[in-house]
């Protein structure tokens, strides 16, 4: 999009207005992705916050010839993956203790205010293995190609396609199960 080209150009020239506009324009998309990938409100906010801080610090080093939105979404996916690995390693939080993605009331510290629908889908997606969840969401919601996802995950395209297929099958089973209830 032309606006993004101009924004990147201005941002790289040191424009704070461009940074504000990029933040306003993409914060919700990034939070939405982080929320579904992490299924944890605090983690999602941390991930997006960190992505924006790194981005803000890249004024003079950013090399971006492609799509700004895809770039930021990939950054979120990468950080979410790292966070997920770190959480798996620690294994200090049990499933029941995990903070739900939605809290019903808004607290002053809370950044993200999400809908019931987002909470429901985060819970549904959380039933998928992480790699499948990431692949399905990046492909269907972020519009990323399998090739791009493969590059981002450091695996082959066939592996990504497999994860996507298994993910959809599992989702189908979850959703049809929900309907039958």
């Amino acid at each position: 999009m032309l606006e993004d080209k101009v924004l990147i150009w201005k941002f790289k020239s040191g424009s704070s207005d461009a940074l504000c506009r990029i933040y306003e324009k993409y914060k919700k998309d990034l939070l939405r992705l982080a929320a579904i990938l992490s299924n944890n409100a605090c983690d999602a906010e941390d991930i997006v916050h960190d992505v924006f801080v790194s981005f803000a610090q890249s004024t003079e080093t950013l090399k971006l010839s492609g799509n700004l939105k895809s770039y930021l979404l990939t950054c979120v996916a990468n950080r979410a993956r790292n966070k997920n690995r770190a959480n798996q390693c620690r294994q200090t939080v049990g499933l029941d203790e995990a903070q739900p993605v939605v809290s019903q009331s808004k607290t002053p510290e809370q950044w993200m205010i999400h809908s019931e629908e987002l909470r429901r889908w985060s819970d549904i997606m959380a039933q998928l293995p992480y790699e499948q969840r990431e692949t399905v969401i990046l492909h269907l919601r972020a519009g990323m190609k399998f090739r791009q996802i493969a590059k981002s995950q450091g695996v082959s395209v066939n592996t990504v396609k497999g994860r996507y297929r298994y993910g959809l099958t599992k989702l189908r089973s979850i959703l049809n199960g929900e309907m039958e209830k």
Partner: protein, 450 residues
């Protein structure tokens, strides 16, 4: 039962509402701006934005960049500041602005930093500027290997919004017809008045008295990173030397480093010198009439004379008739460099009646002839790109969706921009236009994502 296809559709079209806490937004934004500022301060000694590197590739553009001066910056500043030695730079500017015609020599040299890979390129020329007739420059590009140089005569006519270049060695010429805004900016190029205004708008200091070619002068220097308006952060060293008797400039010196792609290592340094000024020289109208011999071939580049919503709609109609679709945003964003080959490539894939006619017409033509044949089709691309650029510069939030919207999409936003805090102007896929509220625009653009 939901099929896999249904599930894909459901996930794609999910309306996952989300909002953010305004107070937290404010805190985070403030943190981000601080991070950006810190990063700029830390990196400024080494890094430089890519856009500047791109722009700095052309020595002519170097001048152009420096010439893109917002005179408004000057307004409101304390102009009549003397430096203690008696000369006020604003007084110099006032005198220069009274001059009807002047001539000077200029030299641009790029010198490589790597001693193992000696590299340099050089251009030099003479520029004659007349308030009445326009500007004429003779630019010589020197071969760094000592070979034959290439000379080009360049004429700029602000009233006709035209620039013409003639290269005798190649028996070629080019003519660019600009829109009014660009023409005005072009006129500011290569103009010592522009540089004086720029120095005045920056933080500068006196270098004291000296002598150049037997003339007593006083020097002024700025190292303000915003001397070049585009690509702030450049480590420029700009000096102007003023004759203490006439209060007119005698010499300008600008030096700056160019960085590698990573922005961490200096690869070469640029040096522009403007010297041998002759102020208030007599000029003859005939000097400003380009002579193009009959056997020269040439190309023409056109921008719409006035770029408006209507000219853009008309231009888009022409492009759709030719290409069957709207041009890609990438092409529009790079409108200054859009070449006939880009259009030819799109034309190859089009089978509209207009495309078939044009393909037939250009069969067997030379490259120059094809370029000229495509002028009218490239003009709306340049016009639209320029339009979006101007809107962006004015903070009017333009967006163009030529990659997803088709001529049949009467309800989809093809191009939009802000006209006031409460209104956006929208051109739809079928090229009708209307003014909408930001809320309505948000709905329209949401539909685009689906």
């Amino acid at each position: 039962m939901k099929s896999a296809e249904n599930i894909k559709k459901v996930i794609k079209n999910l309306d996952l509402e989300i909002d953010t806490n305004t107070e937290k937004d404010r805190i985070i934004l403030s943190e981000l701006l601080e991070a950006q500022e810190k990063s700029r301060k830390t990196n400024s000694a080494f890094a430089a934005p890519n856009i500047r590197r791109q722009i700095m590739k052309s020595p002519l553009t170097k001048i152009a960049i420096a010439a893109v001066v917002t005179i408004a910056c000057v307004i409101g500043l304390s102009l009549w500041r003397t430096t203690g030695s008696g000369i006020a730079l604003a007084d110099v500017l006032a005198r220069v602005e009274q001059v009807k015609a002047f001539r000077f020599h200029w030299n641009v040299k790029i010198t490589g930093e790597d001693p193992n890979k000696p590299y340099s390129s050089e251009e030099r020329g003479t520029i004659l500027t007349s308030q009445e007739y326009g500007r004429k420059g003779k630019i010589e590009q020197l071969d760094p290997n000592g070979g034959e140089s290439t000379s080009t005569e360049v004429y700029t006519f602000p009233d006709k919004k035209t620039k013409i270049g003639i290269t005798p060695k190649q028996k070629k010429y080019w003519r660019v017809e600009f829109d009014d805004v660009t023409a005005e900016r072009l006129w500011q190029m290569n103009d010592p008045r522009t540089y004086l205004k720029k120095i005045l708008a920056c933080k500068y200091e006196s270098l004291g008295r000296s002598t150049i070619d037997g003339v007593e002068v006083e020097g002024f220097q700025t190292t303000d990173p915003y001397f070049f308006l585009i690509g702030g952060g450049i480590q420029i060293d700009a000096k102007v030397w003023v004759d203490v008797k006439t209060r007119l400039p005698v010499r300008y010196d600008f030096t700056w480093p160019n960085f590698d792609q990573m922005g961490t290592k200096i690869i070469n340094r640029g040096h522009i010198v403007m010297h041998d000024f002759q102020w208030d020289v007599p000029v003859d109208a005939a000097e400003f009439e380009p002579v193009i011999p009959d056997d020269y071939t040439g190309t023409v580049v056109k921008y719409p004379a006035h770029i408006t919503e209507e000219t853009n709609i008309q231009g888009l109609k022409v492009l759709v008739e030719l290409l069957g679709k709207y041009p890609d945003p990438e092409i529009i964003a790079n409108y200054t460099n859009v070449a006939p080959t880009v259009l030819l490539s799109a034309l190859e894939k089009s089978e509209t009646p207009a495309a078939m006619r044009l393909k037939e017409e250009i069969k067997g033509l030379t490259d120059d002839e094809i370029s000229n044949k495509l002028v009218d089709f490239l003009m709306p691309i340049r016009g639209l790109g320029r339009f979006c650029d101007m809107l962006a510069q004015d903070g009017k939030d333009p967006a163009y969706y030529g990659n997803t919207v088709t001529p049949k999409d009467a309800d989809k936003v093809l191009l939009r921009w802000k006209v006031s805090d409460n209104d956006y102007r929208v051109i739809y896929g079928d090229l009708h236009a209307e003014t909408v509220t930001p809320e309505k625009l948000a709905e329209l653009e949401k539909a685009l994502l689906k």
